[in-house]
Amino acid sequence: MNSFRSFQTATLILLVVGILLLALGGYLTPLSRLALSPFIGAQTWISSRYQAIRDLFTSPRDVAQLTQRNAELEAEVSRLEAQIIELQQQTAELEVLSALLDFARAHPANEYLSAAVIGRDPSPFLHYIIVNRGSDDGIRRGMPVVSAQGLVGRVTAVTAGATRVQLISDPSTAINVRLKPSGAEALLTGSITGELSLEAIPQAAIVNASDLVLTSGLGGNYPPDIVIGQLTNVRQRPVELFQTASVQPIVDFDKLEIVLVIVNFQPVDITPLIPAP
């Protein structure tokens, strides 16, 4: 009886050792996978249901936290967007100022005073701008006004802190100009639509579309050689005394933000020299 039990024990030990050796050798892995997979599936199912039930009871707190976090992040996004817009504005302003500085460096003979455009004439018939510098800053009536691109107009009225500038596109404007490269003299006029046109171009002058229009300095109202624009359309009729042309202004008058007033230019009043009709 005892020998039978010891045989049974030895067989059991051998079986266990064999199974252990097989397991350590990796021979039982498919079998264990097959045996464990129902358990893993069941555990996954129970665990997911438990988590769902737990979330059901704890979610209000999480939603409140998420809402608060969302609000914080939205506020942060708004703040950063505002910062981006502010930086973009500063960059645009810097570009304008940089261009104006380049213009001033290119014309060292003139003394400039920068001024910001703060308004326009309320009447749609007139083309005037209002800038935020006045007689307190040394601005006087008749001083020419330019931008980084070219001629803008001239000062027509001054108060202590503000100045009204007549744009060259105003219908009452008449400026003596010179064409480049032909050298022909002509008269630039504005209009109620803001379009510029050239009159009194001599018939003999050879002018082409794309010729440059510059101030001539005649009449004493503007310094010479300030760029105004480019010819776009020349009309020559043999029956007329003069040629006429349209001018594309180099300055975009609708987008003026900062201008330069030439403060060392003294306009010459030639009215007494003009014979009365």
Binding site: P122, S123, P171, I192, T193
Partner: protein, 166 residues
């Protein structure tokens, strides 16, 4: 009280007109907010300071505009007069009076402006002025006429409350 209120109110409108509205264009036409307020004020039933407002508005606009001050003043006074006449003629239809007065007011102020500019030697082609300035301006003014009327009616009711007989 209403006269004293006119100075800051119309002053603010002139600033808005010069800084913002003069850049909002339909062709070359712009809204004349001061004219709209003057017309809306003139067609109110109990208002007795319409002429005062017209003078203050005209003088304030003259500060910002290169137009002769007399032309601006004359234009606004004539528009106010027209609005007063229409108020009496259309007293049962104040909105109709407002719309008609706005259109007529735009025509009157622009006619006076063009006449003044012609007198001062500024060449203004009439047909072009009507097509690209006056008619678009009239349209913009008409678009804003009703909202401005509503706003000014509230102001008038606040300043001139209706008397109730006991």
């Amino acid at each position: 009280m209403a006269v004293f209120l006119a100075i800051p109110l119309l002053g603010l409108l002139v600033i808005m007109q010069s800084a913002i509205l003069s850049q909002v264009r339909l062709l070359n036409g712009t809204v004349d907010l001061v004219l709209l307020v003057l017309v809306a004020w003139s067609v109110q039933e109990r208002v007795k300071t319409a002429w005062h407002w017209a003078v203050i508005g005209g003088l304030l606009i003259s500060l910002a505009s290169a137009l002769p001050w007399s032309a601006v003043l004359a234009g606004y006074l004539l528009a106010t007069g027209g609005a007063r006449v229409l108020r009496r003629a259309l007293w049962q239809r104040p909105l109709l009076a407002m719309v008609t007065a706005t259109f007529l007011g735009t025509l009157i102020t622009h006619t006076v402006t063009v006449a003044a500019l012609q007198l001062t030697g500024t060449p203004i082609p009439l047909e072009q002025a009507i097509n690209i300035i006056t008619l678009p301006s009239a349209l913009l003014n008409l678009l804003l006429a009703i909202p401005v009327y509503t706003w000014i009616s509230d102001l008038a009711n606040w300043l001139y409350p209706q008397e109730i007989e006991l």
